[in-house]
């Protein structure tokens, strides 16, 4: 096992919590050795691990047998893989907030359909007690999220790239938590994902198209700027759910947030980059993004929509560019191939 001194420092000596971002068991074991205490999966990662290691998963009891091709099979396979991983990390739960969960995502083909997402969430919640149900941060997804929190389910708002989305997710969580407590229960873990690298990817394409003053050096700060701003607002308002940086494209997406009370979703490739860093390491969450970079980014309307707390209304979330490319990718390279996967 590679000893990752950065991740051990981050997970051991700061308030930041490390979750592993893949559904490959061997990778998970290495991550746990370096301090990972939870796991994020999505339809893409589940499809990828089942196709890359079918015999490993068969030996763990995963099978499509008895399910007909279609949504039922995709859901069944996601439940099985997520349930298996959830069992592996279940012991960490006793260590407190943010520990011992595994994410399972609802059907990305129905991001506006509350009925489909609600029914699926109810089934996921039965799969294992420490499944975190991933719902899209659309208007409809957040309505379902609130209901899930009220029922005591652990939730994560994903397909989320912007400050207004994570704020809306946090508020939906608060409403659900209040309902949960009113019913005499303690609400479960809530996460508001901000896919930092995917925001950068989208803005890069928009920048190339519009030829604005922002450069590649600015673009790679866009997601970081958004999540730092959101973090400040979360602290100020005392939101209970945790921000989660995800879709990282480089070590900078983690190092710039080090020390934050966030749950960080870190893929093996990023973990390897962090392992190459040499200490001493420092917390960077309170270091602001350079004002000149921010000014250039703010010349892009699509960045402003992502960065300003009121940059979008909830009904705009499903129309945002990053939302659409990400949902499509989760469908084309995740959910849809899972519908016909024979294992």
């Amino acid at each position: 096992m590679t000893e990752n001194t950065y991740l051990r420092w981050l997970s051991g000596a700061t308030r930041s919590i490390y979750w592993h971002d893949s559904a490959v068991m061997a990778e998970l074991e290495e991550a746990i050795g370096n301090g990972a205490v939870g796991v994020t999966t999505n339809p893409f990662l589940v499809n990828a691990t089942l196709r890359a290691n079918p015999s490993d998963w068969r030996s763990r009891g995963v099978s499509a047998a008895g399910t007909s091709e279609g949504d039922a099979r995709a859901e069944h396979l996601i439940c099985q893989v997520a349930g298996h991983i959830a069992a592996r990390v279940a012991d960490f739960r006793s260590r407190g907030f943010g520990y011992g969960h595994c994410c399972a995502q609802v059907n990305p083909n129905r991001p506006g359909n509350t009925a489909v997402m609600r029914a699926m969430a109810d089934r996921y919640a039965q799969a294992a007690p420490n499944i975190t149900i991933k719902l899209p941060a659309t208007r409809a997804g957040l309505l379902v999220l609130e209901d899930c929190v009220a029922k005591g389910y652990s939730v994560a708002a994903t397909v989320s790239f912007t400050v207004p989305q994570v704020l809306a997710a946090a508020e939906a969580y608060q409403r659900g938590a209040a309902r949960c407590r009113a019913a005499g229960r303690e609400p479960a873990l809530g996460i508001a994902v901000l896919m930092v690298g995917r925001l950068d990817d989208y803005l890069r394409d928009v920048m190339q198209e519009s030829g604005g003053p922002a450069t590649e050096e600015d673009i790679i700060w866009a997601g970081t700027a958004a999540i730092k701003r959101a973090y400040g607002i979360f602290q100020e308002r005392g939101y209970e759910c945790a921000l989660m940086p995800a879709g990282c494209r480089g070590t900078y997406h983690i190092t710039e947030l080090a020390g934050a009370r966030m749950i960080m979703s870190i893929a093996p490739k990023i973990a390897a980059g962090l392992a190459a860093l040499e200490g001493p390491f420092g917390e960077r969450i309170d270091a602001p993004v350079e004002p000149a970079i921010l000014r250039r980014l703010q010349s892009m309307r699509e960045f402003v929509r992502a960065y300003e707390p009121d940059g979008m209304a909830p009904e705009d979330f499903i129309t945002y560019g990053s939302t659409n490319r990400t949902l499509n990718q989760f469908c084309d390279n995740g959910w849809n191939p899972l519908q016909t996967l024979d294992i």
Partner: protein
């Protein structure tokens, strides 16, 4: 043999249609059914390699394993485009270049890169006279349309779901074609795809999300409303570009536009549906949609953006939800798998 609906279109109306896939068997079948060209793209190219590997194997293996990602995808795309074009060379010649083409699509990863697209377009044009350059209706794509039109190179603007995009392409083509004529070059064909079914899918998700008071029947007319409006505007302004309705989900997408001087792109599945339904031979283009239906759709701001001639600014084309969805799809299920198809090279793409 009894005349089919497609025979009627070809013989009694100005409406024409092209086949929509790269499958050699399907192309032959479609030709026998009256198709006058082939629409190919990275997704369909990859699909025929998956479905008919024996047909392509020798040609695929002849491509050097040393090619980088983008040149490899381009070389593979070329195989299918050249084959499809070869099946319609006679139609191309007989129609003076108005029919009988196949399409060579540019890298969807360059949707915002006008210079990169222009260079790739010139390479693809060298594949054959009856291969049109397929490119996105983004701000950068519109710039490239004008340049290619000025050079007399046929184009097909895709990733288009809105009236505003179609108008921007048509206007760019007029500018380019005028420049061509001034230079003594005969302007080539310009097709403007209207992805009717894809807009419907998007509007359905948005309508559900905002709980708009529209029915499924309203939703499945969203793309048609846009296509009909675009057609009326093209006719009124006398634009030379030809609308290409694509992404059809049923016979109604065809029958409601029948009689229009447009060229449809139709998959084998929808061809079968049309032949099965054997619809009445009636002009559909002159029948407007129910105004109440359009009013209901207009409660959805995303529909209004697609439907109004000034609903989207040029710089917003690339940001519109369906366009991002389509770019992702062309990349994920077409261009990206082609980059590494039958190759040991690994893609560095992020997920």
């Amino acid at each position: 043999m009894a005349k089919t609906y497609f025979d009627w279109l070809n013989e009694q109306t100005p409406t024409r249609w092209w086949h929509d896939s790269g499958s050699p068997d399907e192309i032959l079948l479609a030709r026998s059914r009256g198709a006058l060209g082939v629409t190919t793209n990275p997704v369909l190219t990859y699909r025929t390699f998956q479905n008919e590997p024996d047909f392509w194997r020798e040609q695929v293996q002849a491509i050097s394993g040393d090619l980088d990602l983008e040149p490899r995808a381009e070389a593979l795309l070329r195989l299918v485009a050249v084959y499809a074009a070869s099946q319609f060379k006679d139609v191309f010649q007989a129609s003076g270049g108005r029919q009988g083409l196949a399409l060579g699509q540019l890298n969807p990863g360059r949707a915002g890169d006008a210079a990169g697209m222009l260079a790739q377009a010139r390479r693809i044009h060298a594949w054959g006279d009856n291969i049109a350059i397929k490119l996105p209706a983004t701000r950068s794509g519109v710039i490239v349309v004008e340049e290619l039109a000025a050079e007399g190179i046929p184009v097909c603007a895709t990733l288009n779901v809105s009236v505003a995009q179609a108008l921007a392409v048509a206007e760019a083509y007029e500018r380019g074609a005028d420049r061509a004529e001034k230079a003594g070059i005969r302007p080539a064909l310009c097709l403007v795809v209207q992805q009717v079914g894809r807009l419907d899918d998007y509007i359905r998700d948005v309508a559900h999300d905002m709980q708009a008071a529209v029915s499924e029947n309203d939703v499945i007319h969203a793309g048609l409303a846009v296509a009909k409006r675009t057609y009326a505007l093209f006719t009124e302004k006398g634009y030379r570009s030809v609308i290409m309705p694509a992404g059809l989900r049923g016979a109604y997408h065809l029958t409601e536009m029948a009689g229009a001087k447009v060229t449809f792109s139709i998959t084998t599945r929808v061809q079968d549906m049309v032949l099965e339904a054997d619809p009445p031979r009636e002009n559909g283009i002159d029948k407007p949609l129910d105004p109440a239906l359009v009013d209901r759709l207009c409660q959805i701001p995303e529909f209004v953006r697609a439907y109004e001639p000034d609903g989207l600014k040029t710089g917003e084309f690339i940001t519109y939800g369906v366009i991002q969805k389509l770019l992702s799809q062309f990349t994920e299920t077409g261009w990206a798998p082609l980059e590494t198809y039958n190759s040991s090279k690994k893609s560095g793409r992020w997920i």
